[in-house]
C-alpha cells in the first residue's frame, strides 16, 4: 500500500464539494456530498439505493447534479465534460453488449471512441487488455455467447482503454467467481498506483482488501470517510459481542443498545453492539471494517 499524503506527486485528485441531486420524483439521491479522492483506490461503500450509482454517473458526465462542484485535476467536471472524458474510464453497474459482434471488434470500436486513432497502438492496447482480462482466446467469439463473468471482464477491459487517469468502476466484482475477483483486484491494484480509482461496492471486504481510502454513503449522504484502518482503529474498544438465543431477546437488545450487526457463527447468532463501555453480558469484540460500515449505517438511519 502506498501511504497517502506523501506530497511528492502532484495533487491529481477528484474533489467533490456540496454535490446534491434530487430526482424529478422527489428522491434525494445525493445530499451535500463532499469528498476528496486522491490518487489510488477509493472505496465507496453503501447499501443499494444509497446514491452510489448516481454519484458515479454524475462524475462520469452522464448526469447533471443540481448543486455543488466537482473538479478533477483542474478540470471542472460539470462545465468541461469533454476534457474530463479525455481522461475517464468508466464501468457502469450493469451494461449490455451487441450480441452479434465479436469481443475484438467491439473493443476495437470502443477504443476508437476513446480516441485511440492510430491503428497499431490501438490494436496493441486491445490485445493487451484482452490478454489481461483473460479474454484473448475468446476474442473472435460473439459477445452474445459470453458468460456473466466474461462479460464483466470485457467491461473492465473497455474501462481501461485509452489510459484513463480517472477510473470509475461501479460494482465491478458482482457476478465474478472468486478466482476472477482475485484477478480483477490484482489488475486494479496494479494500475491504481498512478491514477484515481473510484470503486463502488457493497462488499466490505473488497474495500478492506484494496482501498487506501473509503467513504460510506447512506441515503445520499457521506456518513463516514477516511482510511479504512484508521476508521477501524477509531471503533476499537467500543464494539462488544455476545451470543443471543430467541428473537425476543434480540428485539429487546435492539431497544436498549445500538446493535451494529447480527451474524451467524457456527449456527448461533452473535450480536455486535456499539457502546462506550461493555454492556452487561457482552465481551469485547475485535472491530473490523464491517463493524465500521454497519455502525455508520446505523447512525445514519437513526439520524434520518
Amino acid at each position: 500500500m502506498v501511504p497517502d499524503g506523501l506530497g511528492c506527486v502532484s495533487d491529481m485528485e477528484l474533489r467533490l464539494e456540496g454535490v446534491s441531486k434530487t430526482y424529478p420524483n422527489g428522491t434525494r439521491a445525493l445530499n451535500d456530498v463532499s469528498l476528496t479522492i486522491p490518487r489510488g483506490m477509493f472505496g465507496l461503500l453503501g447499501p443499494n439505493g444509497a446514491g452510489k450509482s448516481t454519484l458515479m454517473r454524475s462524475i462520469a458526465t452522464l448526469q447533471e447534479v443540481d448543486a455543488g462542484a466537482m473538479t478533477f485535476d483542474g478540470i471542472d467536471v460539470r462545465r468541461d465534460k469533454a476534457r474530463l472524458r479525455d481522461v475517464l474510464g468508466f464501468l457502469p453497474q450493469d451494461f449490455g453488449v451487441y450480441p452479434k459482434v465479436t469481443a475484438w471488434d467491439m473493443l476495437d470500436h470502443l477504443a476508437q471512441l476513446k480516441g485511440l486513432s492510430v491503428r497499431r497502438t490501438r490494436h496493441d492496447a486491445v490485445k493487451a487488455l484482452l490478454t489481461k482480462t483473460n479474454l484473448w482466446e475468446h476474442r473472435d467469439r460473439r459477445l452474445g455467447g459470453f458468460s456473466g463473468g466474461m462479460k464483466q471482464r470485457f467491461g473492465i477491459a473497455q474501462a481501461l482503454l485509452g489510459d484513463p487517469k480517472l477510473l470509475i468502476v461501479d460494482e465491478p466484482t458482482a457476478g465474478l467467481d472468486p478466482a476472477e475477483r482475485f484477478r480483477f483486484h490484482n489488475l486494479l491494484a496494479e494500475i491504481s498506483t498512478d491514477v484515481v480509482v473510484l470503486l463502488s461496492t457493497h462488499i466490505v471486504s473488497d474495500v478492506a482488501d484494496l482501498c487506501q481510502n473509503m467513504a460510506v454513503l447512506a441515503q445520499g449522504r457521506v456518513v463516514a470517510s477516511g482510511h479504512p484502518l484508521r476508521l477501524v482503529e477509531e471503533l476499537q474498544g467500543r464494539v462488544w459481542k455476545r451470543f443471543v438465543g430467541a428473537q425476543d431477546e434480540l428485539d429487546a437488545l435492539g431497544k436498549q443498545l445500538e446493535v451494529i450487526a447480527v451474524r451467524r457463527v457456527a449456527g448461533q447468532r452473535r450480536v455486535h453492539v456499539y457502546a462506550e463501555s461493555a454492556p452487561a453480558g457482552f465481551e469485547p469484540a475485535n472491530a473490523d471494517l464491517e463493524d465500521v460500515y454497519f455502525h455508520a449505517l446505523a447512525r445514519a438511519s437513526r439520524q434520518a
Binding site: R85, F95, V97, Y98, L113, L116, S117, A128, T131, G162
Partner: protein, 1202 residues
C-alpha cells in the same frame, strides 16, 4: 387455466397506453375517411370521388373497414407474436413451464387472448365512421344512404375477423416455433408483398377468379364479388357470403386452424439448445506478445474522429446486415419484384418489353412502401442501438465528440437505404435478363436509383432520424412517423398543393426514352436543394438535442445544447437557413409571381366563374373559322414555341356580329391579337385567357374577316402544378387547342352536379339531346369551325423533324434551323397538331398511299405490326366503306407524358408508352396484338371522324369512336381469326362493366353516349361485334357504307347516331330488330347460366348434348336499377374443346328462365354452354359454360332390374 390466460392477456393489454393509441388512430382514420368521402373537405379541395356511390353505402363501409384493418393488422402482428413469445422474451418461461401447464390450453389460451383483443381493437374503426357519418349528415345529407347497422358489422364477420384469425395464426406460429419475434415481422412483409403480387396478377381477366380465391386478406375476393355492381347495388346490398367469398374465407380459416394445430404439435416447453452457427476455431492459443497496456497514444484529431465515425457507421450497418428483419425485406423484394413486373401486363393482358425505365419504375414503385418502413424502423433501431444494448453509459462516457456517434448513426441509416437500392437494381436486372432483354441501360440504373431516388430517400432518413432524436421515445417516434405519412396524404384532402410545405415535396420526374428526364429535372433539383437545406437544419438541431448521458428532461437538454453549440455549427446553420429561405423565395417567385399559383380547386372556381360571367356569349352569334394558315417556330433547346397565324373567319349566321369572345391558354404571351382589324380587345380576362373584341362595324352575314395572332409560349420549369409537357427538348406535341378559339365553350363547364351546386350553378345535362336540331349546327370536335382549309409552316432545331397534317410542300434550312411547309389539299376539321423530335423514319407503301412511321431510334419493336395495321385497315375500310381521302398516312411517336394515340388528318401521334414497346409473342395464344389493333383503330378514324363527324350531342361519338372500334375489330378478326377475339372481348366486357360502375353522372344507352369512353369504346365493341355476329358482317358494312356515302364531309346539320341507326335498322332482318333496341337504344344485360349438362355418345361417333340453362335478361336505368324482362331471344348454344375454342356453335331461341337444349357435336366436348364465347353482355360471364357429365351410351335392350 384457459380462461385465466385469456383474461390475463386482455387485462394486461387494456392497461397499456399503446392499446389506446392504436384505437385512437383507427377511429381517427375512420372518421377522416368517412368525412373525406362524404365531401366534407370539398370546399377546400377539388372533388375526385364518384358521387353516385354514397359515403356510408355498405360497399364503401366494407372497403373502409377492411382497408383500415389491414393497417390494424400491422399493429396486432406484434401482439400475436408477443402472445407466443413473451415468456421467452421476458425470461419467464422457466417459471411457467415448471408449473403443471398443458401445451394446448397454454398456447390456445394465449392465442385466443390475442385474437379477442385484436378483434375488439379493430372495432375501434366503427365509432370513427359513425361520427364521420354524423358530420356528413350535418354538412350534406345527400351524400348518405339510409343507415344500416349490419353494414358496419358485416365487414368484420366476412372480412376482418377471419383475416385476423389467419394472420394471427401465422404470426403466432412463427413466434411460438422459433421463439423469436423477428420472423413475425418477416411474416408481415411476406404477406403484404404477396398480396401486392396477387393484385398485379388480377389485371388479367383470366386470373381474377384464382386471385379472388387465394387472396388471404379477401380484398380481391370482395372486389371480384362486387366488381360489376351498379351504384344502386353498392348503395344497398351487403356482399353475400357465398361462392368464392365463402370458399376463400373457409380456405384461409382452415389454414389458420391447421397452423394452430401444427403449433400445438410442434411446440416444445424445454430448453432450446442454442448452438452458434459455427464452432469456434480451435486454434492453438496464440501467445500474446504484448502484455503491458501501451500508455502512449497520439491525441485524436478531427480527421481521426471522422475515421472513427466512418468505422462506427460501418459497424452499425454490418449489424443491420445481420438482422433477419432486413433480410426478410431483401429476399421478399428479390422474389416478388420480378414476379410483380412479370404479371403486370400493359394492355389486353399483353406485356411490353422490359425496357429499363419501365422495369425500374415498377420495381421502385413496388418497393417504396418498404423503403418507408425500413427507414422508419432502422432510424429507431440505430438511434437506440447503444441504449437498447445497455451500452449507453459506456459509449456516452467515452471521449468521442458527440457528433461522431451521431454522424455514424445517420450514416449507417443512409447505408441501409442505399443497400436497398442495390436490391431494387438486382431485382430489376434479374427481370430484364430473365425475360431475354439485354439492352440494359446502366446509366439509367445509376441515375434513377442513385441520383434521383437515393438522394430523395436521404431526406426521409433525416426526418425519421430527427424524429427519433427529438422525441426520444422509440415507439412514440414510430407513431409520429406513421402519422406524418398519413398527414402527407391528408394534406391533399385539404387542398394543400404547395410542395414547399410538404417535407421532401417535389414534382414528379417521369423518364421518357425520347426526352430523358427533360425539363422535369431542373424543378426536381431546385426542390431538392431547398429540402436539403431543411434537412441540414434538422441534422444540426438534432445534433444539439441528441441525448448523451441520462439527462432526458428538456431543461437538461437545452443546457447541454447550449454547451454543444460552436462557431462552426452556427455558421453551417446560418448557411443552410439562408439557402432554405433563399431557394424557397426563388421557387415562390417562380410559382406565385412569374406564374399564377393555380390549384385544382382554383381551376374549378375558374370554370364556375367562366360559366357565370360568360355564359351570355353562348347565345351570341359568332364567326366560324374557314381557313387556317399557321407558322410555328419550335425552339426545343430553349423550350420555347412561337405561334403565328391567320384564321379566316366567316359570319355563317343570319345576324350581324359585333362582339366576339376569343379564348387562349392563360400562359400564352400575346404579342399580337387582331380581329377584323381591331387590335385591342375591349375586355380582357387574364386568369381565364379571354379576350372580348367589339367590332366598330359589325361583321355582316356572309362576310369574312381575319383573326391574326402572334403568340409565344415559354413554359417555366418551376411553375406550380408542373410545366406543360407539349413543348419539350425532344418530342414536342403541340395542338390546335393552344391557339385561339372563338365563342363560349360549353364543354368547359363544370360537369359534376355536386360541384355545380357548390358554386350555385344549376344541374346540367352533359350534352344536348340526340335529336336536338340546334345541337346539330356544331360538330363535337371543334365548336368554332366546320371543315377548313389548312396550311402550316413549321421550323425546328436542325437535328429534329417537325410534322403537321397535310403534305410536305417544301423543306429548307435557314439560319441553322429546319423549316417545313405543309399544305392540305382538301378541307379538314379544325383539328391539327405539330410534332417535333429526333426521329427515324420507316417507310412503306399501300397502293398509292405512302406510309411512314416516325419513331425514336431504339423503338423498333412493333413497327412491322403498326405498318401491317395501317395497310390492313386502309384495305378493309376502303373496300367496305369508301375511298381514303388522303395520299399519305403517318404515325408519329411522342413522349409518354400522355398515353394515347390520336388521329389527326393523315397524321397519327402515338404515345411511346402505348405500343411502341409492346411485346406481342406470336406463339402465345393469349397475347393480343394491340399495336396492330390500335393502329387499325386510328386509321379507321380517317373515315369515322374525318369523313363522318357527329354533332356535339348525345350519340355523337358513336358515329366515330364506336365505328373506328368496329372497323379495327373486323380487321383483327380477319387477320388473327375469330378465336383471338374471345379474349379481347373479355377485356372489353370487363372494362365496360367496370366503367359503368365508376360512372359519375349517369349511364346512357350506346346511341345516346355522352362521350363516355367505356360506352363508345368498350360497349361499342361488344354491341357491334354481337350485331355482326347475329346479322352478318356484310349487312352491317352495307349499312355503314350507305350511311357514309350519305353524310361524307357533311357540315351543319351534322349527323348523329339516330341517322346511323336508321341505316342499321334497314339492313337488319325483322327477327333481329330487337337487337338494335337491346344493344343501342337501351342498357340491357343478360344473366345466362349453364346449370347442368350431360353428353352421350350416339353410337355413330357423335355426341349428344343435353343442356339445362337458366337465362335472364334485365334492363337497367341510368343508376343501375334493374328490371327483369320477358324474352325469347337468339343466342349461341355450343361446345368448346380443351383450349376453349368452339367446336360447335348454333343460334337458338332461348326463352326466359329455365329451359333445356339439345344438340349434337362431332367430337366429345370439354365444356358446353349458352353464349359460350360471351358475345352478349353478361355480368357473370364465366358461368355460361359447364363441364358435362358423361352418360352411358344408349344400349339396346337394357335389362331392367326387377
Amino acid at each position: 387455466m384457459f380462461s385465466a390466460l385469456v383474461t390475463f392477456e386482455l387485462r394486461r393489454r387494456v392497461k397499456m397506453v399503446s392499446t389506446w393509441v392504436y384505437a385512437l388512430v383507427l377511429a381517427g382514420a375512420g372518421l377522416l375517411l368517412m368525412m373525406a368521402s362524404g365531401g366534407v373537405f370539398k370546399s377546400m379541395s377539388a372533388s375526385t370521388s364518384s358521387e353516385r356511390i354514397l359515403a356510408n353505402s355498405p360497399y364503401s363501409i366494407y372497403n373502409y373497414i377492411t382497408t383500415l384493418a389491414l393497417f390494424g393488422l400491422l399493429m396486432v402482428a406484434a401482439i400475436f407474436g408477443q402472445a407466443a413469445h413473451q415468456d421467452f422474451g421476458h425470461g419467464t418461461w422457466m417459471l411457467v413451464f415448471t408449473k403443471n401447464v398443458k401445451k394446448a390450453p397454454y398456447l390456445l389460451g394465449r392465442f385466443l387472448g390475442a385474437f379477442t383483443f385484436s378483434a375488439v381493437l379493430m372495432l375501434a374503426i366503427v365509432p370513427g365512421l359513425l361520427v364521420g357519418a354524423v358530420v356528413v349528415w350535418v354538412v350534406d345529407k345527400t351524400q348518405l344512404a339510409p343507415h344500416q347497422t349490419l353494414a358496419y358489422l358485416w365487414p368484420y364477420l366476412v372480412g376482418v375477423w377471419p383475416t385476423v384469425f389467419l394472420a394471427g395464426a401465422v404470426f403466432f406460429t412463427l413466434a411460438a416455433l422459433t421463439r423469436r419475434m423477428a420472423p413475425v415481422y418477416v411474416g408481415v412483409v411476406v404477406m403484404v408483398l404477396g398480396y401486392l403480387v396477387l393484385n398485379a396478377a388480377m389485371d388479367d381477366v383470366a386470373n381474377q377468379r384464382l386471385g379472388a380465391l387465394l387472396d388471404p386478406f379477401g380484398f380481391l375476393t370482395f372486389d371480384h364479388a362486387t366488381r360489376y355492381w351498379t351504384p344502386a347495388e353498392r348503395n344497398r346490398d351487403l356482399v353475400p357470403l357465398s361462392d368464392l367469398l365463402l370458399a376463400n374465407r373457409l380456405l384461409w380459416s382452415a389454414v389458420g386452424a391447421a397452423l394452430l394445430g401444427l403449433t400445438v404439435a410442434r411446440f416444445r416447453t424445454t430448453v432450446e439448445e442454442h448452438r452458434s452457427g459455427k464452432d469456434r476455431r480451435d486454434e492453438a492459443p496464440e501467445a500474446p506478445t504484448v502484455v503491458a497496456i501501451p500508455t502512449t497514444a497520439r491525441a485524436p484529431t478531427f480527421g481521426s474522429w471522422v475515421a472513427t465515425a466512418l468505422g462506427g457507421a460501418w459497424l452499425a450497418f454490418r449489424d443491420v446486415l445481420r438482422s433477419p428483419v432486413y433480410w426478410s425485406f431483401v429476399v421478399a423484394g428479390l422474389a416478388f419484384i420480378p414476379i410483380g413486373i412479370m404479371v403486370s401486363k400493359a394492355l389486353f393482358g399483353t406485356a411490353t418489353w422490359p425496357v429499363t425505365w419501365q422495369v425500374l419504375e415498377v420495381a421502385t414503385g413496388m418497393f417504396t412502401p418498404f423503403v418507408l418502413i425500413i427507414t422508419t424502423f432502422y432510424a429507431g433501431e440505430l438511434v437506440w442501438k447503444e441504449r437498447d444494448a445497455g451500452l449507453g453509459d459506456i459509449v456516452d462516457a467515452t471521449r468521442a465528440p458527440t457528433w461522431v456517434g451521431y454522424g455514424a448513426k445517420l450514416l449507417a441509416l443512409l447505408l441501409v437505404v442505399l443497400s436497398l437500392k442495390a436490391v431494387v437494381a438486382l431485382a430489376a436486372l434479374v427481370t430484364q435478363v430473365g425475360r431475354g432483354y439485354f439492352d440494359i441501360e446502366w446509366g439509367l440504373y445509376a441515375s434513377k436509383l442513385l441520383l434521383l431516388d437515393f438522394t430523395h430517400d436521404v431526406l426521409l432518413c433525416v426526418l425519421a432520424f430527427f424524429a427519433q432524436v427529438l422525441i426520444h421515445q422509440k415507439y412514440l417516434a414510430y407513431l409520429v412517423m406513421v402519422l406524418y405519412f398519413a398527414a402527407q396524404a391528408a394534406l391533399r384532402l385539404f387542398g394543400v398543393e404547395e410542395l414547399l410545405v410538404r417535407y421532401g415535396g417535389e414534382p414528379a420526374a417521369p423518364y421518357s426514352d425520347m426526352n430523358g428526364y427533360g425539363h422535369f429535372l431542373s424543378a426536381v433539383v431546385w426542390h431538392r436543394l431547398y429540402w436539403y437545406c431543411a434537412a441540414i437544419l434538422l441534422v444540426g438541431v438534432g445534433y444539439l438535442l441528441t441525448l448523451r448521458g441520462r439527462g432526458t428532461r428538456w431543461k437538461e437538454r437545452f443546457v447541454e445544447a447550449r454547451a454543444r453549440r460552436s462557431l462552426a455549427w452556427t455558421l453551417c446553420m446560418a448557411v443552410a437557413l439562408v439557402g432554405f429561405v433563399g431557394i424557397g423565395a426563388f421557387l415562390t417567385y417562380h410559382k406565385r409571381v412569374l406564374n399564377p399559383y393555380v390549384t385544382a380547386k382554383d381551376n374549378e372556381r375558374g370554370l364556375a366563374r367562366y360559366e357565370k360571367d360568360y355564359k351570355s356569349f353562348a347565345a351570341l352569334p359568332h364567326p366560324r373559322v374557314t381557313d387556317v394558315d399557321v407558322t410555328l417556330h419550335i425552339h426545343p433547346e430553349e423550350r420555347r414555341l412561337e405561334a403565328l397565324g391567320t384564321y379566316q373567319l366567316r359570319n355563317k349566321t343570319t345576324q350581324p356580329i359585333s362582339q366576339v369572345l376569343v379564348e387562349l391558354p392563360n400562359d400564352a404571351r400575346v404579342r399580337k391579337l387582331t380581329l377584323a382589324g381591331v387590335d385591342t380587345p375591349a375586355r380582357r380576362d387574364v386568369p381565364l385567357g379571354l379576350f372580348i373584341f367589339e367590332l366598330p362595324t359589325p361583321l355582316a352575314p356572309g362576310a369574312d374577316a381575319d383573326l391574326v395572332f402572334d403568340l409565344e409560349f415559354t413554359p417555366d420549369d418551376l411553375k406550380h402544378g408542373g410545366s406543360r409537357t407539349d413543348i419539350v427538348g425532344n418530342g414536342t406535341f403541340f395542338n390546335h387547342g393552344n391557339l385561339p378559339t372563338l365563342g363560349y365553350q360549353e364543354d368547359a363547364e363544370l360537369e359534376n352536379d355536386g360541384d355545380r351546386k357548390e358554386y350555385g350553378l344549376a344541374p346540367k345535362e352533359r350534352l344536348p339531346d340526340r335529336d336536338d336540331p340546334k345541337a346539330r349546327e356544331k360538330n363535337y370536335i371543334s365548336a368554332d369551325a366546320d371543315f377548313v382549309s389548312f396550311q402550316a409552316t413549321v421550323s425546328t432545331a436542325a437535328d429534329q423533324i417537325a410534322v403537321a397534317p397535310g403534305y410536305l410542300e417544301k423543306e429548307w434550312t435557314e439560319s441553322g434551323r429546319r423549316f417545313f411547309r405543309y399544305k392540305m389539299d382538301q378541307p379538314i376539321l379544325k383539328f391539327f397538331s405539330v410534332l417535333s423530335a429526333r426521329y427515324e423514319v420507316k417507310r412503306d407503301q399501300w397502293n398509292d398511299v405512302r406510309l411512314e412511321i416516325y419513331h425514336h431510334p431504339t423503338h423498333t419493336f412493333a413497327l412491322d405490326r403498326m405498318m401491317r395495321g395501317m395497310k390492313d385497315a386502309l384495305a378493309y375500310c376502303s373496300e367496305n366503306f369508301g375511298p381514303y381521302q388522303h395520299r399519305q398516312a403517318r404515325i408519329l411517336e411522342f413522349p409518354r407524358y400522355a398515353t394515347f394515340a390520336q388521329a389527326f388528318p393523315n397524321t397519327i401521334p402515338y404515345s411511346e408508352a402505348l405500343g411502341f414497346i409492346a411485346r406481342v409473342r406470336d406463339d402465345e395464344p393469349d397475347d393480343v396484338d394491340y399495336p396492330y389493333y390500335i393502329t387499325a383503330h386510328e386509321i379507321a378514324h380517317q373515315w369515322w371522324a374525318h369523313q363522318v363527324v357527329g354533332a356535339r350531342a348525345q350519340g355523337g361519338t358513336m358515329t366515330s369512336e364506336t365505328m373506328a372500334q368496329y372497323s379495327a375489330l373486323m380487321v383483327m378478326k380477319h387477320t388473327h381469326g375469330a378465336t383471338k377475339m374471345k379474349r379481347f372481348l373479355r377485356f372489353e366486357l370487363d372494362r365496360y362493366l367496370m366503367g359503368r360502375v365508376a360512372e359519375r353522372k349517369k349511364e346512357v344507352p350506346l346511341s345516346r353516349v355522352e362521350n363516355q369512353p367505356y360506352i363508345h369504346y368498350q360497349k361499342g365493341s361488344l354491341a357491334m361485334y354481337a350485331l355482326q355476329d347475329f346479322i352478318g358482317e356484310e349487312r352491317v358494312n352495307r349499312a355503314l357504307k350507305r350511311f357514309l356515302e350519305k353524310v361524307r364531309f357533311q357540315g351543319p346539320p351534322y349527323t348523329g347516331s339516330a341517322e346511323l341507326l336508321g341505316f342499321l335498322r334497314e339492313e337488319t332482318p325483322p327477327e333481329y330488330q330487337y337487337l338494335l333496341e337491346d344493344l343501342f337504344e337501351t342498357i340491357t344485360l343478360y344473366d345466362n347460366r349453364a346449370v347442368s349438362a350431360t353428353v352421350r355418345e350416339d353410337g355413330k361417333g357423335a355426341w349428344e348434348v343435353t343442356l339445362e340453362v337458366l337465362a335472364k335478361k334485365y334492363r337497367s336505368d341510368d343508376k343501375g336499377n334493374q328490371t327483369e324482362l320477358d324474352f325469347n331471344d337468339w343466342m349461341d348454344v355450343g361446345a368448346l374443346d380443351e383450349q376453349g375454342e368452339a367446336v360447335f356453335l348454333e343460334k337458338r331461341r332461348i326463352p326466359k328462365g329455365e329451359s333445356k337444349v339439345t344438340f349434337t357435336v362431332p367430337t366429345k366436348p370439354a365444356q358446353v354452354g349458352i353464349d359460350p364465347l360471351n358475345k352478349l353482355i353478361d355480368r357473370t360471364p364465366q358461368d355460361n359454360v359447364t363441364t358435362p357429365s358423361t352418360e352411358k351410351p344408349i344400349a339396346l335392350g337394357t335389362p331392367t332390374q326387377p
